[in-house]
């Protein structure tokens, strides 16, 4: 016999008029190797079919199942119940708009982030289908892949003090995304152009240095280092722009 688990789960369906946010307890028996993915599905299938939550890959690759598990933002699919006490709370991520129960709207938030940071390769070169690819050092390719590994789960945003109080803050994920393009030699943006995107309070300079993002990133991306990299570049760019008497918008 496994432990008897009690999951105290946040419930609220904003599409039902008069529905009130509340915590609801569910009990189930733990089994060997149980993850929160298994537990939540069992609850939905056997106890409460209206329970809303999100999973896609169930393998910690897609980033859809981030939620607050006993107060910490984590991926539910790879959270083993044995790492938790027999009674614990499950809540939706803060910052993102609530869809219902544990489900939040990360799609709109992240799409907006891509557009604000213009997170695509900026180049004046035209693609020529008859030409070979431009050569690149394998070390550079591997360096780009490091920040590229972000799965946009939103854990870092949920854990971020600034993002929780300032709606427009890009968060560690946004700054990491910018770092990814700064590292890429195919992107021809100058530091001054990047400065317009992230050299401000909503970007690289809005972070107050608590570094919860780096502590909780499920992909273990060095968010702190990437922020430092972007800040250094932006500080230099800012200085240069200042010296030239250039006005930054």
């Amino acid at each position: 016999m496994g432990r008897q688990l009690t999951l105290s789960i946040f419930r609220y369906n904003p599409n039902i008029p008069g529905d009130q946010p509340r915590m609801q307890d569910y009990k189930l028996e733990e089994h060997e190797g149980m993850t929160l993915f298994v537990a939540l599905n069992k609850i939905r299938e056997e106890q409460d079919p209206s329970l809303m939550f999100d999973f896609v890959c169930r393998a910690a690759i897609c980033g859809s199942c981030a939620m607050m598990i006993n107060g910490r933002p984590r991926l539910a699919c790879k959270t083993m119940t044995r790492t938790l006490p027999s009674r614990f709370t499950v809540m939706p991520l803060p910052v993102f708009k609530l869809i219902g129960d544990l489900s939040v709207d990360t799609g709109t938030w992240f799409r907006n982030l891509q557009i604000r940071t213009e997170a695509w390769i900026h180049t004046n070169k035209k693609f020529d289908p008859n030409e070979l690819e431009v050569r690149m050092d394998n070390k550079v390719a591997e360096a780009i892949y490091e920040p590229e590994r972000c799965i946009e789960c939103g854990c870092c945003v949920a854990a971020c003090v600034t993002a929780n109080i300032r709606e427009d803050f890009l968060g560690a994920t946004g700054i990491n995304r910018v770092a990814r393009f700064m590292l890429d030699p195919r992107d021809e943006r100058s530091d001054a152009e990047y400065f317009e995107v992230v050299g401000n309070e909503d970007g690289a300079f809005g972070c107050v240095g608590i570094m919860a993002c780096a502590d909780i990133c499920p992909m273990e991306i060095p968010l702190q280092q990437n922020l430092a990299y972007v800040r250094r570049k932006m500080a230099k760019a800012g200085l240069k722009l200042d010296l030239k008497g250039f006005k930054v918008s």
């Binding site: 369906n13 599409n15 039902i16 060997e32 190797g33 993850t35 939905r44 299938e45 056997e46 409460d48 079919p49 209206s50 809303m52 999100d54 999973f55 896609v56 890959c57 169930r58 393998a59 910690a60 690759i61 897609c62 980033g63 859809s64 790879k78 869809i99 709207d105 990360t106 799609g107 992240f110 799409r111 891509q114 557009i115 213009e118 997170a119 695509w120 390769i121 180049t123 070169k125 693609f127 289908p129 030409e131 070979l132 690819e133 431009v134 050569r135 690149m136 050092d137 394998n138 550079v140 390719a141 591997e142 780009i144 892949y145 590229e148 590994r149 946009e152 393009f181 890429d184 195919r186």
Partner: protein
């Protein structure tokens, strides 16, 4: 109109994975107004889970020198066990190198050639040339003559999807995520778009378009154990089948991947074997060379999967806490640095889900449902059979690049290549099409869906439990329509599925069904999933031969005289079985022959 929102566009793309987004880009660049619908944000699509890579005959790495589209084509046809459309395969193999380079231009950080001498895990020495340094490199994969699988560590799907999505953002193509298409709007001749249910609010929406593309991926979740994401429930296939006039092609061709990791059945990439990993049995004996002396672990997936089950049946399976019967994947000899750089994603998965460190531990593996070769049958330009203005691409389509067995690395490559090639055809068709709608027809489709939802909520149909039916269906597919199939077992399976199908028409909700209610979403999908499952099972029962992944123990030989043909499954209104039809498979470039691996070559019991 009673639907809350109506959206009008030139091209409606259902799905937001790689095939979907790549085709949307092509249409948007032609100046068309495109809307993408998706169950989830694009970057959560199952395409991002693809680890291994994309096959393209660039010929840059040492073991890929001299490669060209013709060799890739021959590998693909052999891999398909002569079940594929050879014209499609040819077009694909010629186009995919350009796709890889375009993805590079868009920002994919492909791994590159590093010049110098290297020793492979099997002792062979190779040398990457100075003149190729910095070009895109490739790794080995199953069933291929050359190393041609281009990759970014083992996160290829992730990097490619993210980069393609950047182009979608840049072009400003709207993505309506959490929006599920639940019925196609058509008059039996032309498709006019779809009725969709918003998974944020539960509201019905209408999408009217000149062209509709189905790109919803596979249907792996009709099986209990699948490497697929939990959203891969085959709804795109189901809504096409529901029209009654669009057939699904070759649904019996289901791929089982040799290395799913129990108990979660998450995929361990074929790149693990491509990079030199072995399979071991309970005695830690490397058994694959006994069965497949030439290709060993790198025969095609259908062959390796069967050999593994054959070996387990012979009494060599491992019994452990992971599963009652499984085998081991051994990548320890590749070294910690290689494992935690080039195979890091699977190392993480093994660590997270089983607490294993593959640099020092063996990984439990068992063949697991992985890929749906069949799908909405299209011609070589991606036009769905049966309805004008309807197209299909990617895993949801039977464009028929893969025939009865897909080679690893050909699916991710197919998504972008078909997205490009078919996307051009869609653009061409759409630019010449006029938009006209019969509002009465649209209204009728909306009313029908509203009625269905109302009755599910009120319990008018009955009180059947959707989750019980789903789990029973998944078990039937495991028990009767798996790697090894026989007539009597398939007959039982079909009968059980028919019974479940009848029950699925009597589902009633236990919850209110209000808002983004997940029980309602499952209930709406359930009969369609069963229709798709019946196409698989019934197609398998009727195909009395073995070809690629479809293996009949009572008909163990490939039968080109009678079965060089493609199954077309239609669903007529009120039926509880598909109607099967067949069309010939032409072999204009490569007549049927020996694959060079597998049972036909090595003998049914292997050379042991």
């Amino acid at each position: 109109m009673s639907a809350k929102h109506t959206h009008i566009c030139d091209v409606l793309v259902i799905g937001a994975g790689l095939a979907a987004e790549r085709s949307a880009i092509e249409c948007a660049q032609a100046g068309l107004n495109v809307i993408i619908l998706s169950l989830v944000p694009p970057r959560r699509s199952h395409s991002t889970a693809a680890q291994g890579g994309m096959q393209a005959s660039l010929g840059n790495c040492a073991m890929g020198l001299g490669d060209n589209p013709q060799i890739h084509f021959e590998d693909t046809v052999k891999g398909s066990d002569w079940g594929c459309d050879q014209e499609v395969a040819k077009m694909f193999c010629e186009t995919v190198p350009i796709m890889i380079r375009q993805l590079d231009y868009w920002g994919v950080p492909w791994n590159r050639v590093v010049a110098g001498k290297k020793k492979l895990p099997d002792g062979r020495e190779i040398e990457d040339l100075k003149e190729k340094e910095g070009l895109i490199t490739a790794r080995d994969f199953g069933g291929v003559a050359k190393w041609r699988c281009c990759y970014t560590s083992d996160g290829t799907g992730h990097t490619v999807q993210f980069v393609v999505d950047t182009v979608v953002c840049k072009l400003g193509i709207p993505v309506h995520d959490r929006m599920e298409a639940i019925a196609l709007i058509h008059d039996g001749e032309t498709c006019y778009g779809a009725v969709a249910r918003c998974l944020r609010t539960g509201d019905l929406n209408v999408y009217l378009a000149k062209s509709t593309i189905i790109a919803t991926g596979g249907a792996g979740r009709i099986y209990a154990a699948s490497t697929n994401a939990v959203i891969n429930e085959g709804t795109g296939l189901a809504i096409a089948l529901d029209t009654g006039v669009v057939p699904l092609g070759n649904m019996e061709a289901i791929q089982f991947h040799p290395t799913g990791m129990p108990p979660t059945f998450i995929l361990m990439t074929e790149g693990a074997r491509g990079d030199g990993g072995y399979l071991l049995d309970k005695n830690l004996h490397r058994f694959m060379p006994d069965y497949e002396p030439k290709k060993k672990e790198l025969a095609s997936r259908d062959v390796v999967s069967r050999r593994m089950i054959q070996h387990i049946r012979a009494g060599y399976g491992v019994s452990s806490k992971y599963a009652p019967q499984h085998l081991w994947l051994d990548i320890r000899h590749l070294g910690r640095k290689w494992v935690w750089t080039n195979l890091r994603e699977i190392a993480n998965i093994a660590m997270n889900f089983n607490g294993l460190d593959p640099a020092k531990d063996l990984i439990p593996v068992i063949p697991t449902q992985h890929y749906t070769m069949g799908g909405v049958r299209t011609n070589k330009d991606g036009y769905a059979y049966g309805l004008k203005g309807l197209f299909a691409i990617g895993e949801a389509a039977c464009w028929d690049l893969h025939g009865f067995n897909r080679l690893g690395g050909n699916s991710l490559a197919e998504t972008v290549t078909a997205g490009f090639l078919v996307g051009m055809q869609v653009a061409k068709y759409t630019l010449g099409a006029t938009q006209k709608f019969d509002y009465k027809l649209v209204e009728d489709f909306v009313k029908k869906e509203e009625e269905r939802i109302k009755n599910l909520i009120s319990g008018k149909y009955g009180k059947e439990n959707v989750f019980e039916i789903k789990s029973a269906m998944q078990q039937v597919m495991m028990d009767h329509v798996h790697i090894f199939r026989t007539g009597p077992s398939l007959e039982q399976g079909v009968a059980k599925l028919q019974e479940l199908y009848r029950r699925s028409l009597k589902i009633g909700l236990r919850s209110s069904g209000k808002g983004a209610n997940p029980e309602l979403a499952a209930a709406i999908r359930m009969p369609g999933m069963l229709r798709v499952a019946l196409c698989v099972a019934y197609g398998a029962l009727m195909r009395t031969e073995s070809r690629g992944s479809h293996f009949r123990e009572d008909y163990p030989k490939r039968d080109d005289a009678n079965w060089l043909k493609r199954t077309l499954a239609y669903w007529k209104e009120g039926a509880d079985l598909p109607t099967l039809d067949y069309e010939p498979v032409a072999c204009p470039y490569m007549p049927p022959g020996d694959r060079g691996y597998g049972e036909a070559t090595a003998g049914a019991k292997g050379s042991k």
